[in-house]
Point group: C2
């Protein structure tokens, strides 16, 4: 595409999606522009990427084969307003689940990618020697990275930026990179994005990068993003009003003060804090690893993603004692749970140290904690011959290093919790769905998750429908997290389905989930308003939710195509009652068994699979051959 | 060589030295037999290897080039008696010092190598993909090791043994291997030898293996070693008498009970325990890391090398707390000093944890501690931007991992203390000679070391002449370690020169240094007796010491040939007075300045270089062109 046409597209305010496709086998670099009609069906991010993945990734391939593809996509709103819109989404065939995954991160990458001239990058093939991709003002090149291969994510980020001419400063350009975990093909390796240790963690996308010998991506440019809207002045005014509202929302202020880990005490108080590999839902030592305690003792800096009015990023440091580490670490609730409560570990310094390690070596913190929890359970059952104990974090530090370099028993752990539990004959020691471990909420105490975890397309996921929004925060309405009446189950199903569509939408726009936690947050009505003001569309909130539903079905079709994980299943451990704490005696069985029938009915699915009628309703007839 | 000739050599009791030469570039494997006349000039081990290295290694080559060679040599007495005779010596051009190094280890390797049919292995060239060498009953093969490359030394040892058919049990065969430190060419990487975590640590020989893509060597065989002596019955009787004497020596018993770390309190008591990178010679917390304290709290098993009557190997474990580690670790005084006192670290669990890490990742513990000490000093001077403190071991754990994988600042540290100090413009922060850091004795308080450290051919070394033998143990006579009178300096020079010859002899035989610590130990008279009884020789003790001198001069000639490190120099820090402790006010200047003149005179050297007359006296005229 010539520069003249590029500019013309901008001037005409056509909402197109510009992608650069990089084949690392042939070193061929091509530009593709997806036109407005496709954008109006799938937006960008997770939606458009999943659609392309369903069409392009051959059935049955090994996720590590050169035929696998990595879609690294921003969305039509990314970086375009002072809202929480700077998420970058990665879609690929996951080495962890063996089917489609999507995973996203904040920071400055999506913003810088768009300013560099592209909405998305598709990487395919496999380089002969380590490389990185540089996109600088629309110019794309594949550059040698042999001298950077092997570096941990912090040093790699710096080295990539230096090599690309940005003096090693990750505030100056967008960077994606992997650490040794990804290089050594750990199935739970994530991708680190600038700035401040952000991760597209789940599903092993970091290992897909590793398998392609792609150490990183650097993006930078100066495109004026406001040239993409029809009326710059009105856009700034209208998006500014929403930004004001979002900034003043209660949840925004709380997130800015404490970060996501303000949830630790809250979730423990309702008895839904998974403890010791989901043995129970209450952790006696939660207070010590809570957001409040860590804020007071370890938080050194607070930052935000590009153009975000919330700014929830909490950077911690541990400056003395045996778990002291050099530098600062970004930390979140999920990480603190997975490497704290779920390991019976109430030592905040040990938790933060493990998080720092995960960030540096390039692991998904959630799956890392899941895997260590599985390992401890196996050790205690005498299946693994290593002396591990709940609440004893010291030997875990070495284990994490061993995982990153696949040394000894670390080789088994690097395969993730699901394969570890199966290999040693203890399927119950894996607590998750579609091969991916569950996050920081016990679905026996927060029962919306009994549906949303198991139906999540990427497996073991809390972000495809975040039920504490209604169960804890009362948005859009308060639902008792423990109730199991037929009416309540109906209500949960309705809310889960709605949330799955809203989240698919957010991830495709791209919006941060924290836009949607508060009654004063941003929902489909606000998104419709933004699209209509920004791009001159005439979209309704309902149409947007249908886009969300279309995306969710596309993802499910990937499982159907692969013949893998189509059915939604509750893991055995959650069929037991919670033995202690505020939710004592509760299980997830009823909500799941009865809810899943309602859920399939609400979706127009049979046994986890869309019907032809459903595909037709959503304009997905082109995929009918997969049924 | 055919089997018939092999047997004939055995039957005739010819003392030959059988070597297999393996070229990893061409995969050519050849046998060489060095005849009795050469063995009578250089014995084996360090002596014969250094002679061959001087002749064979081209001048000026990069130690990592395929032209560098690794000599892995046993000696004529290795494994042949129930004495401490099972040392294996490695000689190569050192990536740390840039000149010749020799380094040796105990265990079962030398014994198994001889039983496999060889006294030595020479490795040259460079493999295309990782390999290991297998020697099984005289059959030598080069085998793929791509699946073992990357493993830490413990898992690698096991994997090599499994691959070779020994069920992963290092008591069944001899194994040499490197860890990530060697693979990633850290200049302070060692070679681990079976069994029980033994290391040929110093000089970076592990990195030379790494540069050749040689992950390991496995040796096993059943040759009857007694067939090598002229009279089996008399040999067993005579060597048995010496073994009895050695076993009953006071030092043997103490070493068996406490291991080498019984020295911690002793050396501290004389004010010679280098503390905080040789800032002073007295460590307030020495008791906590002493052999006595560690024996009581952390020693789990005691082992010995093949056929050793001393059995000094102390295996420790740390079973709880933040420095808990999985498995057991072999530990020594030098390691405990370097990762303890020299870092101001009085936490025994942290010390043992660092030792375990070094063993697993494949570092020389002494140089690792030297390098960390240099790093702390640079950090405290504001030259390195990382928060390191004396006595704060926590961040060092990560640093060691970073060194093994050359991540971030670890890349600089992996180069070793000398290059680290030079790069950051603080030459005084390196305390050593010939580019290698000094070990666990302060030459300002144990002044024999003011001569023996600096004149040691391999650099920064305590094992080419161990002056505490006379200064602390009074063998062969007691010398005040602090005295500086002209008579005392003369005595020190005499003893250092004698010890350098005796040690060169020991390392070539191969004998353990612990044979020579006690008045009831084994000295040149006993060695002569063993040779004469065993091989029908008529060698005198004096002739043996001359062999030691010949070897010592050959090593010095390597420096002369390279034009590197010929002159002996005292590092700047040791010119200052010790500021605290029992040796307060003492420096090493006088002993060095006056002693070195005497020393050169005693050797027949000028400015660190042998004269032609000296070469002729020692039968080394063939090297006169180097002068």
């Amino acid at each position: 595409m010539t520069t003249i046409f590029k500019n013309l597209v901008d001037v005409l305010h056509m909402v197109v999606f510009r992608v650069v496709r990089v084949d690392l086998s042939t070193q061929k670099i091509t530009e593709e522009v997806y036109k407005e009609d496709l954008v109006r069906r799938f937006l960008g991010g997770r939606g458009l990427a999943s659609y392309l993945a369903l069409k392009e990734i051959p059935r049955g391939i090994d996720p590590y084969s050169p035929s696998n593809k990595l879609y690294i996509f921003a969305g039509p709103l990314s970086g375009l307003a002072t809202l929480a819109t700077s998420r970058i989404t990665v879609v690929t065939k996951s080495p962890l689940t063996g089917s489609l995954t999507h995973t996203n991160a904040g920071g400055n990458f999506a913003y810088m990618l768009r300013k560099a001239g592209y909405e998305g990058i598709i990487v395919e093939g496999k380089a002969e020697e380590p490389v990185y991709i540089l996109i600088k003002e629309g110019e794309v090149s594949i550059r040698p990275a042999k001298h950077i291969w092997g570096k941990w994510t912090g040093a790699a980020t710096k080295a990539l930026l230096e090599d690309a001419g940005f003096e090693g400063d990750e505030r100056k350009a967008g960077v994606a990179t992997i650490g040794p975990a990804g290089e050594n093909l750990s199935r739970i390796a994530g991708i680190r994005f600038s700035d401040y240790e952000r991760f597209a963690g789940r599903g092993g996308a970091g290992a897909v990068m590793g398998s392609k010998r792609l150490k990183g991506i650097v993006v930078w440019g100066t495109r004026d993003l406001y040239s993409l809207v029809v009326d710059r002045r009105r856009w700034i005014e209208e998006s500014g009003k929403l930004a004001q509202r979002l900034a003043n929302a209660g949840t925004s202020k709380a997130l800015h003060t404490y970060g996501t880990n303000l949830l630790m005490n809250i979730i423990n108080a309702v008895g839904g804090l998974p403890t010791r590999n989901f043995e129970t839902g209450y952790f006696e030592e939660a207070e010590k690893i809570s957001g409040e305690h860590i804020k007071q003792n370890y938080v050194a800096e607070v930052h935000g993603c590009a153009q975000c009015p919330i700014a929830c990023t909490q950077m911690v440091e541990v400056k003395s004692g045996p778990y002291k580490f050099i530098g600062k670490a970004k930390y979140e609730y999920e990480s603190t749970w997975s490497l704290g409560a779920n390991l019976g570990n109430g030592n905040p310094e040990a938790v933060l140290k493990l998080i720092k390690l995960a960030n540096e070596l390039g692991f998904d913190t959630i799956s890392l904690g899941n895997t260590l929890a599985t390992a401890i359970e196996l050790a205690k059952k005498g299946k693994l011959n290593i002396p591990l104990e709940w609440g004893d974090p010291a030997p875990l530090i070495d284990l994490v290093y061993k995982m990153a370099y696949r040394d000894g028993i670390g080789d088994d752990l690097a395969e993730g919790d699901y394969r570890l539990a199966m290999k040693y004959g203890e399927p119950e020691a894996f607590v998750g769905s579609r091969g991916q471990g569950f996050p920081a909420y016990d679905p026996r105490a927060l029962k919306g998750f009994a549906l949303s975890y198991v139906t999540a397309n990427r497996g073991g996921d809390h972000l495809e429908a975040y039920s504490p929004t209604w169960e804890v925060l009362g948005v859009p309405e308060k639902v008792d997290p423990l109730c199991e009446s037929p009416e309540c189950i109906k209500k949960q199903v309705k809310l889960v389905v709605y949330a799955q569509h809203l989240m698919a939408l957010s991830d495709s726009v791209t919006f941060c989930k924290f836009d949607t936690l508060d009654k004063d947050g941003l929902f489909e009505r606000d998104l419709a308003h933004l699209f209509n003001v920004g791009f001159g569309w005439d979209v309704t909130p309902e149409e947007l939710l249908t886009i969300g539903e279309r995306i969710f079905n596309v993802e499910r079709l990937f499982h159907v195509k692969e013949g893998r994980w189509v059915k939604d299943e509750l893991p055995p451990r959650l069929r037991k009652e919670i033995p202690t704490g505020p939710a004592k005696g509760h299980s997830a069985v009823k909500m799941f068994e009865e809810g899943i029938k309602e859920y399939y009915a609400a979706r127009g699915w049979v046994d986890g699979k869309p019907t032809y009628e459903t595909l037709r309703r959503l304009g997905l007839e082109e995929f009918q051959h997969l049924l």
